[in-house]
């Protein structure tokens, strides 16, 4: 009977270090813990990883080295301190993993390919034949296929999956099931589904302005206005309604221009006093609702920050934030930093959460 203390070591970790991503089952809880921290906090030192995860320096060393060899983690530029040798920050390798995000909206379906740190590599927009967020666009499958065909083989092996953001009430239709089945069978990519507004909040938490925020109130202005409350990185939604009709549909109705895309409206509003007045009026309605929701939330929890996400023009978002900040004491309202298809980018973060973090 051999002494097990000196039995040959199990080389599974190193043997698995070929190109591409390890199987999900191989990724240990501690590896996920380290990756969660890097996804959430960005670049950091091994010391901080140990402090925040409670893992010993030697365990962190082994995990980081393994993740480095797998290409998920890279060393940053050496930072010179006052004395001693420079410290080397560790961060996620942007090219370590990729993900596809899809969001089915009211007028369009957005598809994005992002890297490991949320950078958009490629994107496509499919216009809906008739407005409404209730069906899978017939070209969705082929568009994802085209996007995948454009990327190199090496990158293709590193795609973590497909995140699909669906609006509230989207039916569990046959065409949705077919899309998921075909994507999983033909592309070999798992499809993860999430509510679209929650996905957008997730995106800001992981890749955007909310990265360092533990708690904040999230607003999404689309066809409707939606709210989410984020407490300790957990996204909560109201158990009653969380969609309010002061969004862009309301704005379009006010202009009596149903059916005209909002992009055209923004363009027209420039230089036209009539449209400018309508924008101001809509903005006031919108800010009033947001202020209302902020006060409601603040009755129960101490929220100091509002993150506003929308595809309406950025300066308009900023102006809404400024109005809100000045109305509510001690509140800082900021525009989300994911401007291109925020719901799709958020959806793309889902496969990362599932495959690389402790939340998954």
């Amino acid at each position: 009977m051999p002494d097990m203390r000196f039995a040959p070591p199990n080389p599974i970790r190193i043997a698995d270090r070929a190109a591409g991503l390890n199987a999900v089952s191989v990724r240990s809880y501690n590896e996920r813990l380290v990756l969660s921290m890097l996804l959430q906090h960005g670049s950091t030192t091994r010391f901080d990883i140990g402090e925040k995860t409670g893992l010993s320096a030697q365990t962190v060393s082994v995990i980081v080295r393994s993740l480095e060899q797998e290409g998920l983690v890279t060393r940053g530029e050496a930072q010179r301190g006052r004395m001693g040798p420079p410290t080397i920050p560790m961060g996620l390798n942007p090219e370590g993993a990729y993900s596809i995000g899809i969001s089915i909206g009211f007028r369009t379906t957005d598809i994005v390919l992002i890297d490991f740190v949320g950078g958009v590599i490629d994107s496509e927009t499919l216009r809906h034949v008739s407005p409404g967020a209730d069906h899978v666009h017939p070209k969705l499958y082929s568009t994802v296929g085209t996007l995948l065909a454009k990327i190199s083989k090496a990158r293709r092996r590193r795609i973590a999956g497909i995140g699909l953001a669906l609006p509230e009430g989207f039916g569990d239709t046959r065409e949705l099931a077919t899309f998921k089945e075909r994507a999983e069978a033909d592309f070999g990519l798992e499809v993860f589904v999430q509510n679209d507004v929650t996905a957008a909040a997730n995106g800001e938490s992981l890749f955007g302005v909310a990265r360092d925020l533990d708690n904040y109130l999230f607003f999404y202005i689309g066809a409707m206005v939606h709210t989410r409350l984020i407490l300790n990185h957990q996204i909560h939604r109201s158990s009653s309604t969380s969609a309010f009709d002061v969004g862009l549909l309301h704005f379009e109705r006010a202009l009596g221009s149903n059916g005209v895309s909002t992009e055209d409206l923004w363009r027209r509003s420039e230089g036209s006093p009539q449209y400018a007045t309508a924008v101001e009026r809509w903005k006031a309605d919108c800010v009033a609702l947001l202020a209302d929701k902020v006060r409601e939330a603040r009755q129960f929890v101490d929220v100091g920050t509002v993150v506003l996400s929308s595809y309406v023009p950025r300066d308009l978002c900023q102006s809404i934030c400024d109005d809100l900040s000045s109305r509510e004491q001690g509140l800082s309202a900021v525009v989300g930093s994911i401007h291109l298809a925020p719901k799709a980018v958020g959806a793309a973060s889902l496969p990362y959460a599932s495959r690389f973090t402790v939340a998954g």
Binding site: I14, F47, V60, S61, P85
Partner: protein
């Protein structure tokens, strides 16, 4: 003040390539000295490099005192408390008289790790940080040493992988010296002054990269 113990063989001792065992680089040129200078005044670096030291093997020719396992425990206890133990051994285990595979040599390193953890000579009786350093592979031409090390260069090229597997499964730090230096052609298995400098700087970065609280 933090303490680093450098436990190794002639390449920690600083033996000059192609010369006798009495020819040694100056302190400031040997890798522990280079590392000490790079780490700065907050660190106390102890050199424990013995020519011909093996990991765990009694040497019937050079003597029992070359067995690293016999000396490691008293050495650790003499210098405790120790914050970091650097182990850079393995080349001498490849001598023909021992005839070891790379995996067997790595298991010798595993025994030393086990002994360090068992003794726990870190601050407050804790396990110190342990850094396993794989020596750079031997060159093919070992000059007058080629008989002693027959077949060894090929095996030496597999040491880094086996050492890393051992370090991973024991959850300790690992560094592959071949990533920053190579053996000198003067004898094919010792390090030049330049190699000592590159290795010392790299290991200083590894030691500080472990991460230490400010105190």
């Amino acid at each position: 003040m933090r303490t680093v113990l450098c436990f190794g063989d002639s390449n920690t001792h600083g033996q000059i390539p192609g010369r006798g065992p009495l020819d040694r680089f100056d302190w400031s040129a040997r890798w522990p000295g280079v590392m000490a200078q790079a780490l700065g005044p907050g660190w106390y670096v102890i050199e424990e490099g013995l020519s011909g030291r093996t990991t765990v093997r009694d040497d019937p020719i050079e003597g029992m005192h070359k067995n690293g396992r016999h000396y490691l425990t008293p050495c650790l206890q003499s210098h405790a408390p120790i914050d970091v133990v650097i182990l850079m051994l393995g080349t001498n285990d490849l001598k023909r008289r021992f005839f070891q595979t790379a995996a067997e040599v790595a298991m010798g390193v595993g025994c030393l790790i086990f002994d360090i953890k068992d003794l726990s000579p870190g601050p407050g009786g804790q396990v110190p940080e342990i850094l396993v350093v794989a020596p750079p592979p031997m060159l093919d031409d070992l000059r007058e040493w080629s008989g002693v090390f027959e077949g060894a260069p090929a095996v030496s090229r597999r040491l880094a992988l086996e050492f890393e597997i051992q370090a991973d499964s024991n959850e300790v730090h690992f560094f592959d010296a071949a990533s920053v230096c190579a053996c000198d052609p003067a004898d094919g298995f010792h390090l030049s002054a330049e190699a000592h400098r590159d290795l010392g700087l790299a290991l200083a970065a590894e030691v500080s990269g472990i991460g230490w609280a400010n105190d």
